[in-house]
Symmetry: C2
């Protein structure tokens, strides 16, 4: 970072680039809806994370107001695609579970086929509802207010007074703060257990009923990313996330926040005791799989509570539920092997790494 560049200049430039991507996705939505939704989610998620990480450099009230609105928007525009992905995941798993030893129309194969049909019906319904909600969101005043606020970022980012300070001095501690939040959350994870293969933790309690009757616990306020909207709002499906998954979901959001922060020019290297960028990315991807598998397991469990299903269908859904919980356990294992610190946490910061 050259001398004389202010922190505000860097952050404003960073946010402006993201805002341009966001606004382009809004503009091009009619041409390719799916691509636009992905771009909105990616840029919106990055903007929300940046508003959190660099909040001390921004007009505080303004940043705090925009963040949850971005979270809402990202969730609304991508939910239908997540239903589709969940159905594809579960259908693929059912095919894998029903593969081999071909017997025409045995009870297990029939159960698997019925379970697949039931899941398709339920998740397609969920997807349709999500699609209607997304279309409504796109036409709403709330959406246009978010777009207007993002347009402001592209032209005239509302900065705080202290943002006139030098970038090389102000940015690294804020990036390190985002990463420290991640490191603290990772330190609270049971990595010793997760790093031992086949520890059966993810299946533990699969047949226990939740203490709370319904409703997810994730409301998007658990992390810095602003798009950590796992589990909430998926009506009629599952009974809310397993509370033992929550710390992992939280780390997923924080890992993204840390990675995004380090992408800003002049933010500095990852703090000691933390993987490099590629490791952070891989570890985050493992936790994406963890969330997807956990949500798919919930969808299987929810489908099993459909009245009047046959025992063979219920049996197949039980196998599928366990399969997806095991996939979640596998993702935790992958995370624990990918989380390789660059140096012990006690080493002095600011080493020769770039």
């Amino acid at each position: 970072m050259p001398e004389g560049v202010t922190a505000g200049e860097v952050i404003a430039g960073h946010l402006a680039a993201l805002a341009v991507r966001f606004l382009r996705a809004v503009r091009d939505r009619q041409a390719d809806e799916a691509a636009a939704a992905a771009a909105l989610r990616a840029s919106g998620g990055r903007i929300a994370a940046a508003l959190h990480t660099w909040e001390p450099l921004l007009d505080p009230g303004w940043a705090r107001e925009l963040r949850p609105e971005l979270g809402w928007l990202c969730e609304e525009v991508t939910r239908e695609y997540r239903y589709a992905a969940r159905l594809a995941r579960l259908t693929g798993a059912l095919h894998r579970l029903a593969a081999g030893r071909a017997a025409p129309a045995g009870p297990s194969a029939a159960g698997a086929a019925r379970a697949g049909a039931l899941l398709e019906r339920r998740l397609t319904q969920g997807r349709s509802r999500a699609r209607s909600a997304a279309l409504q969101a796109y036409g709403s005043g709330r959406f246009h207010a978010v777009a207007d606020a993002v347009a402001l970022l592209a032209s005239d980012t509302p900065l705080a007074g202290r943002a006139t300070g030098p970038a090389g001095q102000l940015l690294p501690p804020l990036a390190a703060g985002a990463c420290r939040a991640l490191a603290d959350a990772v330190a609270a994870l049971p990595l010793g257990v997760a790093g031992s293969p086949y520890n059966t933790q993810a299946l533990h309690g699969t047949l226990a009923d939740p203490a709370a009757p319904a409703g997810g616990t994730g409301n998007g306020s658990t992390g810095s990313g602003g798009t950590g909207t796992h589990g909430s709002g998926d009506e009629g499906e599952g009974d809310g996330e397993d509370p033992r998954d929550t710390p992992w979901h939280r780390v997923r959001v924080l890992a993204r926040g840390c990675r995004y922060a380090l992408e800003v020019p002049g933010a500095g290297p990852p703090p000691p005791g933390m993987p490099q960028a590629a490791g952070l990315y891989g570890a985050g991807r493992a936790l994406d799989r963890h969330r997807d598998a956990a949500e798919a397991a919930e969808a299987a469990a929810g489908a099993a509570r459909t009245p009047r299903i046959t025992p063979a269908t219920a049996y197949a859904l039980g196998v599928l539920h366990a399969d997806q919980r095991t996939e979640a356990e596998a993702a935790r294992y992958a995370f624990s092997t990918l989380w390789r610190p660059t140096a012990p946490a006690t080493a002095p910061s600011g080493g020769p790494t770039t």
Copy 2:
């Protein structure tokens, strides 16, 4: 092995010691049935394995006749205990699966409780049948004929003419032969896949129906041990073993045969490319767990085919089936990590190891 000791002397001594243990177990059966059954199984299994490994040193017709009879006996006297162990394994797994998040009488917990009750009923019935069969076996002429044949081993082992050759020359190649059979069988296992955690192989095809309608494929003739009686004769439960488990069951029996062979004085060290004794033992234990989990999974699948069970029960049995298949996968993983060759298979045999 001192010069001048004949192979026949060593093998006769080895078999006599085993025969004494066997006959003591027969004598003491009334005092502690479970202990006697375990001792009969252990000594009978070792005798059967020895008859196979050292067959060229024994009266061939005689050894070949006794081996399957010992297999029958070991199976008969231990089957009831294996039902009890299977029930304990499944009950423990259900407790683990239903642990945590205590909600009184939710549908999943009710399903788990009903599944547990159903399994208890079925496996207790199986155990009772096995117990009747064992009592009948103990009183049968067939049992007494086996005991008489074993008594002959204790006093006057029927040797082949070539058994007068020197032990140091005749025993090592025969022991190596038993171990080579194991090495060949292990080489045919998919260890690359099994050694990669969470490979999902054991769940693959869980929801496929078997091509053959019923009946196990294992009839005790697959290996050298003579007690490899997995899967057969468990009436009304499961639909026979998964053919993809069969090579693993075969290795389990062969690993025991190799380990037993190496225990005979003068048999020499494990051939190159093979774990040492402790490794062989651990690897064999992993395959015991593999068999137990595979059989427990079959018991869960069999229970799920009970007419008129509730969907919640079927669901719990599906989760349990998947859980036990995952345990089987974990056991394969454990085997693949324990199977550490002492040297590459191309190294010359007869190194300095003792």
